[in-house]
C-alpha cells in the first residue's frame, strides 16, 4: 500500500534526526521580494525544542532514505531493514512552505540517501531548493547536504540556492572511515569541501551570492576508538583548511537496526558537550589543540570538569590573574569568565577599579573563577596551591539517571 504523506514525513524525519546540524544562523539579512515569503535574521531562530533538548529550527528531512551506500553507523544503510520512503520534489516544497507559513520553522534542511547515483540524488535536492526560490520566492533558510561524490557542477548549482552547504566528515580517522563506510572516500569529501570553500571565498570577494552562510560538517564520536585529541585536531584542520563555519559533534547513539560492527552502548552525551566546549576554546579563546588535550588524560577530555578549568588546574603557575590589569588573552583563560564577560570587564575598568561584587555582576561563573582571579578586594592567596582545589570545583558526584 502506498504511504500517506504523513507516514513519509515520519519516516524521513526519523531518518534525518541523527544529523546534529540544525542551525539557521549565518545567513545574510534578507526579506522576500513582493509576492514571495520569508526572511532570514542572521542569528537564526529555534522554533521549538524536543525533549532531547535539541532545537527545531529547520524542517530536517531526507528526500529519501533508500540508499546504495552501506555505512555501518547509519540507520539508512542499504543493509538495514528500516522502513523506506521517498518524497517527490513537489512534496518537499509544499511541506516546507506550509510549515513556514505557520511559523513552525526557519526553513529547510535537506539531506538524502543515495539513489541511482550521487549526481541524480544531488540534482533532485538542488531542484527542491531551486523551486522554492524560483517559483515561490522563498527567502527563508535553506541548508543542503552536499553529496561529495556528485559532479562538481551540481555543487556549483546548489550553491546558488542554498544558504549553507555541508558535507559530513562523519569519522575523524581514515581507518574508521574505511572500515565503517566502505563507499565513502576521504579524498572526495575533502575535494568537495575545498571546492565549496573556493567558491564561497570568490563569491564574497566578487559580492555574489554563493552559500552565504558558509559550510559546516559533522563528526560522530564514540562509534570508533578515536581520541578527543584526534577529533579536535581534525576539527582544527578543517577550520583552517576549509574555513568551516561550524563543526558539529554527534555522540554516537544507538540506532534501531544497528549494524553488528558497532558498539551497542551510546557514547556519553557529556563527551559531546565537552567537545563543543573545547571547540569553542579553539575558535574564540586562543587555545591550541595541544593545550586543551593536556588538560585531560591520554588524549581524552576530562568528563567531570570543563576543559578550560581542566587546563587551568594543570597550569596553576599562570594564576592568579588581576582582573584590573591583565590583558584580554589572559582573562580569557580564567575559568568562569566567558568572552562576553571579559569584554565587559575591559570596558568597565577604563572607568573604575573592579571589586569582587562588581565582577559578580558581569559573570555568572564566579565560583570557578575564585581561585584564579585577583580583584581590588579579593586575593585567592594560597587557594591556587591547594591540592583539593579540583575536588572543590568539580560538581559533587551524583547518581546519574539512565538517560542523563
Amino acid at each position: 500500500m502506498a504511504l500517506t504523506s504523513l507516514e513519509k514525513l515520519r519516516i524521513l524525519a526519523d531518518a534525518a534526526k541523527y544529523d546534529a546540524s540544525c542551525a539557521s544562523s549565518g545567513a545574510e539579512k534578507r526579506t522576500a521580494k513582493p509576492g514571495g515569503i520569508g526572511s532570514t535574521t542572521g542569528s537564526g531562530i529555534c522554533h521549538s525544542y524536543t525533549p532531547d533538548g535539541r532545537c527545531v529550527s529547520l524542517l530536517k528531512i531526507l528526500l529519501t532514505n533508500y540508499c546504495l551506500f552501506d555505512c555501518s553507523y547509519c540507520i539508512n544503510r542499504r543493509s538495514s531493514n528500516v522502513r523506506r520512503a521517498r518524497f517527490s520534489v513537489d512534496e518537499v516544497v509544499r511541506l516546507t512552505l506550509e510549515f513556514y507559513k505557520r511559523n513552525y520553522i526557519e526553513g529547510l534542511f535537506l539531506s538524502s540517501g543515495i539513489i541511482r547515483s550521487p549526481d541524480y540524488t544531488m540534482e533532485q535536492m538542488m531542484l527542491v531548493a531551486k523551486q522554492l526560490r524560483h517559483q515561490h520566492g522563498f527567502a527563508g533558510y535553506i541548508h543542503l547536504k552536499a553529496i561529495p561524490e556528485a559532479s562538481p557542477w551540481l555543487i556549483e548549482q546548489a550553491g546558488l540556492w542554498a544558504d549553507r552547504l555541508s558535507v559530513n566528515v562523519e569519522l575523524a580517522s581514515d581507518i574508521s572511515l574505511k572500515k565503517l563506510a566502505p563507499e565513502k572516500d576521504k579524498g572526495s569529501i575533502r575535494a568537495a569541501m575545498g571546492q565549496m570553500r573556493e567558491r564561497i571565498v570568490e563569491a564574497r570577494e566578487e559580492r555574489r551570492s554563493f552559500a552565504p552562510a558558509g559550510q559546516s560538517t559533522q563528526m560522530i564520536v564514540g562509534a570508533d576508538d578515536v581520541t578527543d585529541e584526534a577529533v579536535l585536531r581534525t576539527s582544527s584542520d578543517l577550520y583552517s583548511d576549509f574555513g568551516l563555519k561550524r563543526v558539529y559533534y554527534s555522540a554516537f547513539s544507538p540506532i534501531p537496526e544497528a549494524s553488528p560492527v558497532l558498539p551497542v552502548k551510546a557514547a556519553p552525551l557529556k563527551r559531546e558537550n565537552r567537545l563543543y566546549q573545547a571547540d569553542w576554546l579553539l575558535r574564540y579563546y586562543g587555545f591550541t589543540v595541544q593545550e586543551i588535550a593536556a588538560g585531560g588524560e591520554d588524549g581524552m577530555l576530562d568528563l567531570e570538569i570543563d576543559p578550560k578549568l581542566a587546563w587551568a588546574l594543570k597550569n596553576r603557575d599562570r594564576f592568579p590573574v588581576d582582573v584590573n590589569s591583565a590583558d584580554r588573552e589572559l582573562l580569557l583563560r580564567v575559568p568562569g569568565l566567558g568572552s562576553r564577560a571579559v569584554d565587559k570587564i575591559i570596558a568597565c575598568r577604563r572607568h573604575t577599579r573592579l571589586r569582587w561584587d562588581d565582577v559578580g555582576r558581569l559573570s555568572g561563573g564566579m565560583k570557578r573563577a575564585k581561585a584564579f582571579l585577583v580583584t581590588a578586594d579579593h586575593h585567592p592567596s594560597h587557594l591556587t596551591d591547594r591540592l583539593d582545589l579540583r575536588q572543590r570545583l568539580a560538581p559533587p558526584p551524583r547518581q546519574l539517571g539512565l538517560f542523563e
Binding site: T41, P51, L160, S253, T352, V359
Partner: protein, 469 residues
C-alpha cells in the same frame, strides 16, 4: 515631590515628554513619583511642550526604548535615574556594566530581548478560511509589553500573507498591505485547529531522539509557561515516558541480517554517472541555471565531434543569445572573415565559449555586455573541460584572457603569452579575442592588429595540420 502619570503599557512617547519636562525643570529622580493608568492625568502639558529635546548617547536611547516595554512598574524611575546620571556628567555610565543600576537595566533589557526572540519563535499561526480567502491567526502571551515591537519581524517575514496576532495586551492585524493595531484579545478569539497541525506533531515526534533525553535543557530554552500555546508541547509527557522503553528495545534487539538482497548491480552502476556524450552534456548545461546575472539560456558549442581545432571564446553576446549559436554577432562575423582568409573552414572547427550564458546589464532597451568575474568563469570550467574531452581537438585556441583563465585556471596576460602554449591538458594556442580587434579606435593600429591576428590563424592552421601528421 513631582507626580508623573503615564499610559498603561509601554508608553515610550509619554516617558520622553516627561523626561524633557523634568530635565528642563532640573527635577532630580529622588523627587519624582512615577505611576501609570488607563487615562493618565496631564502633567503640565504646556510646560512639557516648550521643553527642549534631551540629547542622549545612542546606546542610552536604545536601552530606554527596550526597557519601557518591561512590565516592572519601577522601569520609568530606573530609566530616569540613568538619564539623570548620564546628563550630570556620567556620559559613559552604560559602559560600566558593573554599576548596580546599569546591571539591573541590562538584565531588564535582556529579558525584553529574550521575550521578543521567544515571540518570534513560538507564535503559531492557524489557517482560517474566510469569505475572502485564507487568514493566518495566532494567539500568543508575551511576558512583556512587546507586541508593537515585534510587528516589523512578522511583516517582513509574512508580507504576502494576511495574518493576525492576538495577545492579552493588544493585537496586530496585517492585511497584506497595512498594519492595524487593536485592543487586547482573549484566547477564544483565535482559531482552535489547523490542517497542517497533524503533520507538525508527526514531525516533532519523529525528529525527537529517545536515546538522548534531556528535559532540563528543553525547559531552559522552551520554558513551560509557553507550552499551553504550543500545539507540539502536548506530546512532551508521552515522549518522555516512552523513551526509556524505546531505547531498551533498541539496544536489546539483536542486529538482524538484511532482508533484502544486496543490490550489486545498482551499487556497481552508482558511480557511473558522468554524461557519456557531448549531447548528454549539452542537455545538462541547457537545463542548468545560469551562473552569471542576466543570462537567459545556454549557448552551446557548435561544430563536428573530433574537430581538429576548437576555438574557445569568452561568452555569448547579444546576438548569440538571441540566435542560440556561438560567434554569430559582429565579433563572430569578423572571425569568419579572418578564418576564410587564413584558409580555415568554419564548418570544420569547433566553436564554443568559456561561459555559456550571456552576462549583461539592461540599459533601457539595450543589453550591455558585462565581462564575467574570475569566480564565474571557474563555475563553468567543469563543463568546458568535459566538453573538450568529448570533442578531443588536436589544438585548443584560447581567444582572449577569459578563455585562457577558463582553460588554465590562471589569469595570464594574453599579449605576453600569445602563441603556442599548453592549455591545461591540451596543446593550445593563445591569441586575442576578435571583439578586441573591433574595439580598437585607431585605424592604423587596428590594421596592424588584424594582420597579427591573421598571422596567428595561419599559424594555428599549420600547427593543427602538423599534429595530425
Amino acid at each position: 515631590m513631582k507626580r508623573i502619570e503615564l499610559c498603561d503599557g509601554a508608553d515610550a512617547e509619554g516617558f520622553r515628554q516627561a523626561v524633557r519636562f523634568l530635565v528642563a525643570e532640573l527635577i532630580p529622580p529622588a523627587e519624582v513619583v512615577w505611576s501609570s493608568s488607563n487615562s493618565p492625568a496631564l502633567f503640565g502639558e504646556a510646560v512639557a511642550a516648550g521643553a527642549p529635546p534631551v540629547a542622549l548617547p545612542k546606546a542610552v536611547a536604545e536601552l530606554v526604548g527596550l526597557v519601557v516595554c518591561h512590565r516592572d512598574p519601577e522601569r520609568y524611575a530606573l530609566l530616569y535615574n540613568l538619564i539623570w546620571r548620564v546628563l550630570q556628567g556620567e556620559r559613559s555610565l552604560l559602559e560600566i556594566a558593573s554599576d548596580p543600576l546599569v546591571h539591573r537595566l541590562h538584565i531588564m533589557a535582556k529579558a525584553i530581548r529574550r521575550d521578543i526572540h521567544k515571540m518570534h519563535a513560538f507564535v503559531r499561526f492557524r489557517r482560517v478560511e474566510a469569505s475572502d480567502g485564507e487568514w493566518f491567526v495566532a494567539w500568543f502571551e508575551p511576558d512583556h509589553l512587546i507586541v508593537e515591537r515585534v510587528s516589523s519581524f512578522f511583516i517582513d517575514r509574512f508580507r504576502s500573507m494576511r495574518w493576525s496576532i492576538l495577545t492579552p495586551v493588544g493585537s496586530l492585524r496585517w492585511d497584506g498591505d497595512q498594519l492595524t493595531t487593536g485592543p487586547a484579545a482573549v484566547k477564544g478569539d483565535a482559531a482552535t485547529n489547523d490542517d497542517m497541525e497533524e503533520s507538525w506533531l508527526g514531525y516533532y515526534e519523529s525528529t525527537f531522539n529517545p536515546a538522548r533525553v534531556n528535559p532540563s535543557m528543553m525547559r531552559a530554552e522552551m520554558p513551560t509557561r509557553y507550552w499551553h500555546n504550543l500545539p507540539e508541547a502536548q506530546l512532551i509527557p508521552g515522549l518522555l515516558q516512552a523513551a526509556p522503553q524505546r531505547v531498551k528495545d533498541m539496544t536489546e534487539r539483536e542486529a538482524m541480517a538484511a532482508v533484502k538482497r544486496n543490490p550489486d548491480k545498482a551499487v556497481a552502476a552508482m558511480t557511473d554517472q558522468e554524461p557519456k556524450t557531448l549531447e548528454q552534456l549539452n542537455q545538462l548545461i541547457a537545463a542548468s541555471e545560469p551562473m552569471v546575472p542576466g543570462g537567459t539560456h545556454a549557448v552551446l558549442g557548435e561544430g563536428p565531434d573530433r574537430a581538429d581545432i576548437a576555438f574557445v571564446g569568452e561568452q555569448p553576446g547579444d546576438q548569440e543569445d538571441l540566435q542560440g549559436r556561438p560567434f554569430v554577432g559582429p565579433a563572430g562575423e569578423l572571425l569568419n572573415r579572418m578564418m576564410d582568409e587564413a584558409g580555415i573552414d568554419r564548418r570544420a572547427v569547433y566553436l564554443t565559449n568559456a561561459v555559456k550564458h550571456f552576462k549583461f546589464q539592461q540599459r533601457g532597451k539595450r543589453r550591455l555586455h558585462v565581462g564575467p568575474t574570475a569566480g564565474e568563469v571557474k563555475h563553468y570550467r567543469w563543463w568546458l573541460e568535459k566538453e573538450l574531452s568529448f570533442v578531443h581537438p588536436r589544438l585548443v585556441v584560447a581567444l582572449g584572457a577569459t578563455a585562457v583563465l577558463a582553460l588554465t585556471g590562471k589569469a595570464l596576460p594574453v599579449t605576453k603569452m600569445r602563441g603556442p602554449a599548453v592549455l591545461g591538458e591540451h596543446p593550445g594556442f593563445i591569441t586575442v579575442h576578435p571583439a578586441y580587434l573591433l574595439r580598437l579606435p585607431d585605424a592604423e593600429a587596428k590594421e596592424a592588429a588584424l594582420a597579427l591576428f591573421l598571422q596567428d590563424l595561419r599559424a594555428i592552421k599549420a600547427l593543427a595540420q602538423r599534429t595530425r601528421e
